[in-house]
């Protein structure tokens, strides 16, 4: 079983790490890069597959040379065997479309040079773009089936089938079980939890961890970098030139006023409470999906 996990570096949005300028713009240079948090679930799914069925797991990322660090993190965390970084100035400023084209070219190059891929894993949305488009577009470009919102999975190696449980409409209460032929792309949901109910699986897991410690310490030796020529990609189809999306402007989220006035209302004061409810009413109507603040006016 051979799996590739797609992962991406994102700004570390955690408190203390992230840095904004006076206008509320992210200061990219001052904010460290970390692995996209949702990718951890994809990596765990790949590891579980490898523990149960054996095989090989590779990490793959597209981005600046610094993203090698994210691939190293993946090796430390879930014991990937090797890393592939698609990195080239020509790839800068790619939108989701151009990224998907590049990643699919990465997988095709991998299949030519390394070996046939059975499973391609990706996390659910990145913490910076939040589009959720790159995964499905990559599967489309490869012409592979894709199963999203996966919370549990197993492989039938003989039938070459993936069996997965997935959330329907992101609702935890509604779960469907699907099958898909390999090769196949799997997008894990943040609800994904690996399970290891066999002692032999846990022993394998432990052995992989021990073996990985030395490997991750010498990550450079297990890293392959491919540029657009290696990937056989025309610069017109990638990077800024290959991106059909145009970002016209970015509006910073207005900062909350630092001092707000508070009016104390005693719950026993019915007149004051009525006034307060009157203030709330337009917002209540808007979140109910009604036609806007005015629709609430006739209400009681």
């Amino acid at each position: 079983m051979r799996s590739v996990v797609l992962t991406k570096g994102v700004p570390d949005f955690s408190d203390g790490a992230v840095s904004f300028d006076e206008d509320g713009h992210l200061e990219r240079g001052k904010t460290p890069t970390v692995m996209n948090p949702n990718d951890a679930f994809a990596l765990e799914a790949a590891l579980q597959t490898r523990v149960r069925h054996g095989g090989h797991v590779s990490g793959m990322s597209m981005g600046p040379p610094g993203y090698a660090q994210v691939l190293e993190e993946a090796m430390e965390a879930v014991y990937t065997d090797d890393s592939y970084l698609l990195s080239d100035r020509e790839l800068a400023a790619s939108d989701t479309w151009a990224t998907a084209i590049t990643l699919s070219a990465g997988i095709e190059t991998y299949q030519e040079e390394i070996g046939d891929v059975d499973l391609l894993f990706a996390g659910f949305k990145t913490a910076d773009g939040e589009t959720g488009q790159t995964g499905p577009q990559t599967a489309w470009a490869l012409d592979w089936p894709i199963v999203t919102h996966v919370i549990a999975l197993d492989i039938d190696p003989d039938e070459r089938l993936l069996r997965a449980k997935r959330l329907v409409e992101g609702d935890v209460d509604e779960i469907e079980t699907v099958e898909a032929p390999l090769p196949c792309m799997v997008v894990t949901d943040p609800e994904f939890e690996p399970t290891y109910r066999k002692a032999s699986h846990r022993l394998t897991h432990k052995r992989l961890r021990e073996e990985t410690q030395n490997r991750a310490a010498a990550h450079d030796r297990h890293l392959t970098t491919w540029d657009h020529e290696d990937l056989n990609l025309d610069p017109d189809y990638i990077g800024l030139d290959g991106s059909p999306t145009i970002v016209s402007s970015v509006d910073p989220i207005p900062k909350a006023p630092s001092e707000r006035e508070a009016t104390m209302v005693d719950p026993g004061d019915s007149e004051g409470m009525n006034e307060l409810l009157g203030e709330f009413q337009p917002y209540a109507a808007a979140t109910n999906g009604a036609d806007g603040p005015n629709a609430a006016e006739g209400g009681d």
Binding site: L153, D154, T195, R197, K198, A199, S200, R202, L203, K206
Partner: protein, 561 residues
């Protein structure tokens, strides 16, 4: 989604439950015999659930010692050797000390102080290395919760975290509160009289300060025992051992006595910590690293003479193999011997069609090696019938308490005889468990022969609240591992004071008592919050509970142990 081939049960030749010294010894011996061995440990790391006083002995007469099985044990896993051993008989501020080194050195090749977290986790690494070669290994965070049976016969184990596993031999080294031993009907939690409870503080101290205050070299260590009236009438005593850069100071009491006297274990520990005798060792800076507690089986009464059933064998605390040789407690060494013997017994009976062949051979080996006679001397069974009978005790107490008795013990010849008696392994193994040995005699010795201490202690031990606050817990929220079956004060009230992390009028502990009104009448009931639990098992004995260990990796995590 569950693993494929659910119907295929996993099978290992040997499953060892628990990776303390007993489990570790069993596992490496099994691996030596080329037996495929899986070790399941419920702690997040071996040792994270384990507490000892603790001294580990290597006896000359033992068939196996820990350094036989683990090369480099003393250099890498233990603390200081015990080169001096004293007992202090206390009466108020008067103390008479005897040198117990003779008793300590009897049948002793060496003896080191240990802290269980570093020790057991060191052992587990070696065990994993060796058992991996057999196709097995050590898994942490896995709690074995029961025995797998087929047609009524034990054929393996069930776990919280794993599917059932079959084995040709199951070694239960799962400690004093062994759920496997209880499920097999081999041990129980019924009688407080069969148990001791130990509580301990690990106290921070720089190595050179230890050398200086105890007047020892860096490769030397001391053990001090304390008995007498500082614990009022509670039967038991205290200890102090030197580690590399800390002290282990604790108290061990008969559980029935704690219950009778309604004593608070943490207060008894504080009585020792703040005694003027310890003031010169502890100095002005008192920094407690960890508070812990443990139930200790009294092997004289509970060591199982046939610790097996079908394919299950018990080793160490799980089988009650904890020897109280008068004031000296030996547990880990016997667990090591028992674990190794159980492994050998399985190796020689491998392939035998009778599932209980290994257990029977193990029992025989415990007898033949003399281990069982150390643990449960038959002569004690004889001495006990007279010694512990109340009327005899009362009579002896009255004589000792009288002027005549005090005079007799108080004369200079008696002083020499007493020191010799304390150092006689034969005599101390027969000391009946009455207050005579623990309180009356030491107090009279202290009073009659003792020197008065002119020291003031400035030690202020942390409160119980602070001690609980300093412990590390991975709480299994919404999944308490202990339930009180009968909440009436009569049935379960003893836990409020006997539990080492509970106290009367303290709301932050496990057990508390509450006044409730039911149908107009007031009653006192006991309520339980398992969050601060240190998993000692005291309440399983003194209260009416449904007691289990927390799931793998959950509950308290000791850093020192």
């Amino acid at each position: 989604m569950t693993d494929s081939n659910e119907t295929d049960r996993e099978h290992y030749e040997a499953v060892v439950v628990g990776c303390g010294p007993g489990g570790a010894a069993a596992a490496v011996r099994l691996a030596d015999h080329g037996i495929e061995t899986l070790v399941l440990e419920r702690g997040t790391d071996a040792g994270s659930k384990n507490v000892s006083g603790g001294l580990i002995y290597a006896e000359d007469s033992a068939p196996y010692t820990i350094d036989d099985l683990f090369d480099g044990f003393r250099e890498e896993a233990s603390e200081r050797p015990v080169t001096d051993y004293y007992i202090h008989n206390m009466a108020g501020n008067k103390v008479k000390s005897y040198d117990l080194t003779d008793l300590h050195e009897d049948d002793t090749d060496w003896c080191d102080a240990v802290l269980r977290r570093p020790m057991d986790s060191w052992l587990a690494e070696r065990v994993h290395e060796k058992t991996s070669e057999t196709g097995g290994g050590v898994l942490t965070n896995v709690r074995v919760n029961g025995l797998l049976r087929e047609r009524g016969r034990i054929v393996g184990v069930t776990c919280d975290e794993l599917d059932p596993i079959e084995a040709d031999i199951v070694v239960a080294a799962d400690g004093v509160n062994s759920e496997l031993a209880r499920e097999a009907g081999l041990m129980d939690w019924e009688d407080p009289n069969e148990w001791f409870q130990g509580v301990k503080a690990v106290v921070e101290m720089e190595p050179d300060v230890i050398d200086d205050r105890f007047d020892i070299d860096e490769d030397e260590g001391v053990a001090h025992l304390f008995s007498g009236d500082l614990f009022e009438d509670v039967r038991g005593g205290g200890f102090l051992y030197t580690n590399e850069d800390s002290l282990s100071i604790g108290t061990v009491f008969h559980l029935d006595s704690l219950v009778e006297e309604q004593a608070e274990p943490h207060e008894l520990l504080d009585a020792l910590l703040t005694h003027p005798l310890l003031a010169r060792w502890l100095g002005d800076e008192y920094d407690e690293r960890e508070y812990s507690a443990k139930l200790v089986p009294d092997s004289k009464k509970v060591a199982h003479r046939e610790p097996y059933r079908d394919r299950l064998v018990l080793v160490g605390d799980a089988a009650g193999q904890m020897q109280a040789q008068g004031p000296i407690i030996k547990g880990m060494n016997h667990a090591v011997t028992a674990g190794a013997l159980a492994a050998d017994a399985f190796a020689v009976t491998r392939g035998n069609a009778d599932p209980a062949a290994a257990g029977r051979r193990y029992t025989q080996m415990l007898e033949d090696s003399g281990t069982m006679d150390k643990l449960r001397p038959r002569r004690y069974d004889l001495a006990r019938t007279v010694g512990e009978r109340d009327r005899v005790t009362d009579a002896v107490e009255r004589v000792l308490d009288s002027r005549v008795g005090s005079l007799a013990i108080g004369n200079p010849i008696a002083d020499r005889l007493l020191q010799r008696a304390y150092n006689s392994p034969f005599l101390v193994s027969m000391l009946p468990d009455t207050r005579t040995g623990y309180v009356t005699l030491p107090s009279i010795i202290g009073e009659e022969h003792g020197r008065t201490l002119h020291w003031e202690s400035s030690v202020e031990p942390p409160s119980l609240d602070e001690r609980i606050g300093d412990l590390t817990y991975n709480t299994d929220i919404g999944n308490p591992h202990i339930e009180v079956r009968d909440t009436s004060f009569e049935a379960s009230g003893a836990a409020v004071y006997a539990c080492p992390v509970s106290a009367e009028d303290f709301g932050g502990g496990c057990y508390r008592s509450e006044e409730v009104k039911r149908n107009g009448t007031a009653a006192t009931v006991v309520s339980l919050d398992t969050q601060p639990c240190v998993e000692c098992g005291t309440c399983a004995v003194v209260a009416d509970t449904e007691w289990e260990h927390p799931r793998g990796g959950k509950g308290v995590e000791f850093r020192e142990g």
